[in-house]
């Protein structure tokens, strides 16, 4: 299982790195920014009628909060993996 997963994971890494290597001059902006441009293209007079109540003051703070989101998720996944491996070890000892 671990070997198979490592091979699978390396595919994900390759898929992620590929655009970075082959599209040297792309800016990799968020797709949302481009959608905004498209909207203002189509509906020139459209004004967003509501604005975010709170926005992260800077890109740094924003990335901090993104990391926080990832940590919450990854932290639990790590706990889950450890817990389940421990459980299966114990049940082997018991039987």
């Amino acid at each position: 299982m671990w070997r198979k997963n490592i091979i699978l994971f390396s595919f994900v890494v390759i898929l992620t790195i590929f655009p970075l290597i082959f599209l040297q001059d792309a800016d990799f902006d968020g797709a949302d920014g481009k959608a905004e441009e498209a909207i203002t293209d189509i509906a020139v007079s459209y004004e967003p009628w509501f604005h975010a109540i709170w926005e992260p003051p800077s890109g740094e703070v924003e990335s901090l909060l993104f990391v926080l989101q990832a940590i919450i998720g990854a932290g639990f996944i790590g706990y889950f993996i450890g817990f389940m491996r421990g459980r299966s070890k114990n049940s082997k000892v018991d039987s």
């Binding site: 299982m1 198979k4 997963n5 699978l8 994971f9 595919f11 994900v12 898929l15 992620t16 590929f18 655009p19 970075l20 599209l23 792309a26 800016d27 990799f28 902006d29 968020g30 797709a31 949302d32 920014g33 481009k34 959608a35 905004e36 441009e37 498209a38 909207i39 203002t40 293209d41 189509i42 509906a43 967003p48 009628w49 509501f50 604005h51 975010a52 109540i53 709170w54 926005e55 992260p56 924003e62 909060l65 993104f66 990391v67 926080l68 989101q69 990832a70 919450i72 998720g73 990854a74 932290g75 639990f76 996944i77 889950f80 993996i81 817990f83 389940m84 491996r85 459980r87 299966s88």
Partner: protein, 247 residues
């Protein structure tokens, strides 16, 4: 030469007026007209209601699956925090909805996906409160239902478990962004070419960017399932995901 400087001038003007917003792959705050915003909210509500009941029921019937419920939410949390560069030269993030959908069905992920979206809206100014209904509908309802349908269909025609998981997670992910493009296109039909021209434009932005990310999401979901097949066989069998094999 003159045309070049005037182009530059217009470009500068355009930059001034395009708000520099955070990168969100969901529909941005205030970017859906109020009528549509309300429409998608109302459409999403019944799914959330059924989803909440479904979570209660699952916890009652399969108390041993609480850890797996947590894992489903955690997986969606991580994946939707990863902004990954794509072949179109822009970045987007996966949804992480497929795993929980396969484990617990589509309704439960409607709730989980909504929690993720709410977190991103309030803390990251990502997506928006007014567009929350539309974003819930695309990521937490359409995504899971496509994933669920594909998983059931693929298993039925005899695809292996891993292939079915991969296809379900991948197509659920792409489906979400096709839905997003659809939502934007009906709210903003282009003057020339109306809905279809707009849809083409938005799906070029969202769905195309999403394809390699969706493949990544499919693979990551298979990786987690491989682990579960080894360590959580009992729970998977109880949830009727793995058929009991005679040894």
């Amino acid at each position: 030469m003159k045309s070049f400087t005037s182009k530059l001038f217009y470009f500068g003007i355009a930059l001034l007026f395009i708000p520099q917003q955070a990168y969100a792959m969901h529909i941005m705050e205030g970017f859906l007209p109020p009528g549509w915003a309300i429409f998608w909210f109302l459409l999403s509500l019944p799914f959330l209601f059924i989803g909440l009941r479904s979570i209660q029921q699952t916890v009652k019937e399969h108390p041993e699956s609480k850890m797996l419920l947590g894992l489903s939410g955690a997986f969606a949390f991580v994946l939707s925090a990863l902004k990954i560069p794509s072949v179109t030269g822009s970045s987007s993030h996966p949804t992480g909805i497929g795993l929980g959908t396969i484990l617990f069905g589509p309704f439960i992920m409607s709730v989980m996906g909504s929690i993720v979206l709410l977190f991103q809206t309030l803390l990251l100014a990502h997506g928006g409160l007014t567009t929350l209904g539309a974003n819930i509908f695309s990521m937490a309802i359409v995504g899971p239902f496509i994933a669920y349908g594909i998983f059931k269909g693929a298993t039925k025609i005899g695809a292996s478990f891993s292939v079915a998981v991969f296809l379900a997670a991948m197509l659920g992910d792409i489906g979400t962004y096709i839905m997003t493009s659809f939502q934007l296109a009906i709210a903003f039909p282009s003057e020339v070419g109306s809905f279809f021209a707009s849809f083409q434009k938005f799906s070029g932005i969202f769905a195309l960017t999403q394809i390699p990310l969706a493949v990544s999401e499919g693979i990551l979901t298979v990786i987690v399932m491989n682990f579960l097949q080894l360590y959580n066989k009992r729970e998977l069998t109880a949830l009727n995901i793995l058929k009991v094999k005679e040894n």
